[in-house]
Symmetry: C2
Subunit: 334 residues, 2 copies
């Protein structure tokens, strides 16, 4: 395997940025057609009116992924490609990412939002090298927010605003975190009403994080706000911005998180596993496994008079672990 | 009391739009200063660094409300003014809106979001006449989304896109609603861990709406998505867009909802009470009382082959009522 230099990475980054812009424009075009854009041709309008929203979105999902895949194959024929759409059609759920240069793509993250035209949807493109996401591009065209990062080049909103947003100085995590934190979490698709199933484990964890200090048998976290956007990718982007302090989630896949992890890492965030280890108060806090389907992200944090930024992030991780349940999402090969 | 003609309303609308733009720009200025905008003066930067985020936001809240109040007093000295900030300082929580022309203003809705620089914050300006919100302006400057409406003039996103977004035709509510619906709900500030308190009533209701069909003793609603943004005003704006199908909430105040209700009404939405009446399956569905602190909003709906749009909205209201608990928020004078 050829080693990639910073110059190589910079070239791949420039290509990824262009690709994210073009793919986002494709995504946005179908959305605008559904809003009755007058610029649409008669044939386009006819097509939009004939299809239902879900079919249109499936078609867009496939078209955008095919576009991205083709652009990459032309420019970097030796690179591997893992895409949400092509993956979903296969029967296997094996984890396919190794040390080879690999693109990991979600053509529409926040699909439910896209169907309903709630602005929290995006295209997500990550470049992974030696098993680490090193380049991330997220384009949310309805929000006109474009996130990008490259290892060694910082993380950016709309290519001009460095992330995290508040940076002179970057504030430490709150002293009594999770109190004072904005906590982002998702209900997800698994809604089975089983007494100890994932939905109820999630809800129990959410309620612990929300409840007053002293409540829930001492597990109450009294977070400043509970947020659910319906997009794992944008959840991570907002942790990278510093707008969300904590994101905790189980059940999503590598294409939902790869670009977000690249951007969050470059913005100074920490990302580890959602599931509390047995020795949660003392264990080493390990970097998340990309394919683990279990994610806990903490925003960038600066030093206080008593802690380094990393110490305040790790303290927050342990305080979250103390309040959440183990989730049951398995994964072949990860 | 003088009767207001459509021409009078149009003049007030133009003023309100200008006011919303100017107030949003003020709000955005402080946010940008916190992001280390290089255009800031040394004195401004110094001020931002000295204050903590919460104090800065309180100051901005007061400044923006004072600006709006002064602009209105100059232009319409006979109009009444009800603002979140000036109201909060008084001891009374009496409902002050009557048939007189009244402005109802929230200088920052989504205050927690504004503190954390999560983009879901806005300024909200409503003009109320004969106890009904007839003009609404919502400016979310970080999102670059500006919502506006005037009775008889439609509802708009960024002044050019009519609401709801999907309108040729406007789709009916889903046949099995709330299944297929995006449901928006907020955890709010009341996090007391009391067995039958508002937090637990809300959570029980949320879980009913989320759970699989057949789950929760037949109350499972299997909604398409659960969303929490932390801004009642923007929740309503997204119902007006048609992006959210249902918003259910208790505990907010008239300045949180007045502009959103004006916009939602003009976009064809329905808004009634959050609390299920005793005869929920058969009762007349009444228009919400602005000061009731209990709100259930349904997006605009067009006819199907078997129902009018209104019928599908009312069916959805009853299906929500069947799944939610009564919330306990009282209000003197409303």
């Amino acid at each position: 395997m050829a080693e990639l230099s910073q110059t190589d990475l910079d070239g791949i980054y420039a290509f990824a940025v262009k690709l994210g812009k073009d793919a986002g424009a494709l995504l946005w075009k179908t959305a605008q057609l559904r809003m009755g854009d007058d610029a649409a041709s008669a044939a386009e309008k006819d097509h939009v009116e004939k299809e239902n929203a879900v079919d249109l979105v499936t078609e867009t999902d496939e078209n955008v992924e095919a576009f991205i895949k083709e652009q990459i194959a032309q420019k970097y024929p030796s690179h591997k490609f893992v895409g949400e759409e092509s993956y979903s059609k296969g029967a296997s759920r094996d984890y396919l990412i190794d040390d080879e240069p690999t693109w990991c793509v979600d053509p529409i993250d926040g699909t439910v939002n896209y169907i309903h035209l709630f602005p929290m949807f995006c295209v997500s493109v990550a470049f992974i090298y030696k098993s680490k996401p090193v380049i991330g591009v997220i384009n949310a065209p309805f929000l006109r927010q474009f996130f990008s990062s490259c290892s060694g080049r910082g993380a950016w909103l709309n290519e001009t605003q460095p992330l995290p947003l508040v940076r002179n100085p970057v504030p430490p995590m709150p002293e009594n975190a999770p109190k004072g934190c904005v906590f982002s979490c998702e209900w997800g698709k698994d809604r089975r009403d089983q007494p100890d199933g994932n939905m109820h484990r999630k809800i129990e964890s959410f309620v612990n994080m929300a409840a007053e200090i002293g409540g829930r048998d001492g597990r109450g976290g009294m977070v400043h706000g509970m947020r659910s956007l319906g997009s794992a990718t944008l959840d991570l982007a907002y942790v990278a911005m510093g707008s969300f302090d904590i994101w905790w989630e189980g059940g999503c896949w590598e294409w939902d998180v790869a670009a977000g992890i690249a951007i969050l890492n470059e913005a100074g965030g920490l990302i580890t596993t959602a599931n509390p280890p047995q020795d949660e108060a003392t264990c080493t806090i390990e970097e998340v496994k990309l394919g683990s389907r279990l994610y806990l992200a903490i925003r960038a944090a600066g030093p206080s008079s008593t802690e380094t930024g990393r110490q305040s992030q790790e303290r927050t991780v342990r305080e979250v672990w103390r309040r959440v349940r183990n989730l049951d999402y398995s994964r072949p090969g990860a």
